[in-house]
Amino acid sequence: MSEFAQFKLEKQKLDDFVAQKFKIVGVKEDLEGAWLDLEHPGGETANLHLTTANARKYYVSLLLKQEQTQA
């Protein structure tokens, strides 16, 4: 799979969570990429592992938007 195709998959997963009103509440980055903790206002939680560089860039763009919304 091309890097771009993999990124699209990861982006889609993240966008789906955001569309369902999940918020990024925690992140751990290590040698395997970024491990996101997501939380829904209703209390439901989820995890997402992002491996591609573009996805690891993209989630922080979302995070910044999230911060702006909260501010």
Binding site: F4, V25, G26, V27, K57, Y58, S61, L63, E67
Partner: protein, 431 residues
Amino acid sequence: MADLRINLAGIVSPNPFWLASAPPTNTGYQVQRAFEAGWGGAVWKTLGDPIINTSSRFAAIHFNGQRVAGFNNIELITDRPLEINLKEIYETKKRFPNHAIVVSLMVEPNREKWHEIVKKVEAVGVDGLELNFGCPHGMAERGMGAASGQQPDLVEVQTMWVKEAATTPVIVKLTPNITDITSTAKAAVRGGADAISLINTINSLAGVDIDSWNTIPHVGGKGSHGGYCGPAVKPIALHMVADCARNPEVGVPISGIGGISNWRDAVEFMLMGATGVQVCTAAMHHGFRIVEDMIDGLNNYLDEKGLASVTELIGKSVPRYSDWGNLDLNYAVVARIDTDTCINCNKCHIACEDTSHQCIDMLTDDQGQSYLQVREEDCVGCNLCAIVCPVDGAISMIEVSGNDAPMTWNERQEAIGKLSEGEDSTKKEAV
């Protein structure tokens, strides 16, 4: 026609093109010849206790048909008595009162020695002094040149000693043979330097003769490291000039040196913070008259840009030079191939396939003609295809707008850090 005059820390010259302290400025005859040709200033070849030079001194790197892409020398400072040099400096200044004559100096790290030579040199009417803390060979082994220039404390104290005696502006010439040139630049400023000049030559061995097994150059079968300069070192010099120019703790005028061969190079150095430039290798390669093209080219460029004075260029690109951590990660360019111009040599395809991101496809159209096309979604905008392409304009790097706002690495790390505040394991490095 624009005004080409510059004023570097009080040293005025009719244009920004100076000859660097080196073989071209060894004698009054040469410097006067240079001024007649149009050079605005000259830094006289380094004065100090006269040395003895070797026979066989220079070597050059010729690369793919370009002669003197790089130049190496093992020549030292002046081998002529101080009195003779001073007499010729006096005569030259008298004949060319409006040209800048700066004299390069190098003595051992001794206060009295510095005071003595400064007073003698200033007595003949020089416009400024340049302290040679950069020569990497021969003199360094005697505790001078780069040996001094690699130690910030020695740079500072010797600059201070010179400033105690000097009445003309003092330029400190820095060695590039150091990890962070701003450390010695700041030391020079602490010592009272009025300006800095950089870079001196880079430690080098030009080559080894694979038949005789001698070094290039060699002196009767033995070689030693020399100083490397010429067009090949320009990117290194430009970076060091820029690093000094953007450092607020440096903050003094800069005389740019390092591979400057034409007016374009001079403009680049001035945009990156140099007030003027010094040239050596290009003059050694092509003669003093290259300055005519430099002056014409610079004049035309300034006219095209609508600038009245060359000084308007100084430092204009400095704010655009930053640390990697401040670059926008969401900025994107992709390669586009103009199939009308492309000659189908496939160099871009091979380069991308073998050493980059495998995003240039070889396709066949309806007529059975092969063509190359970039899969833009996989292109990371590395520029390699455009670099290896032999046809100007066949590959362009096109800016593609993204949906995401600009975000630097440092901003990214800050955002992640905020999210994880309070957790020990979440410290994020900024660069």
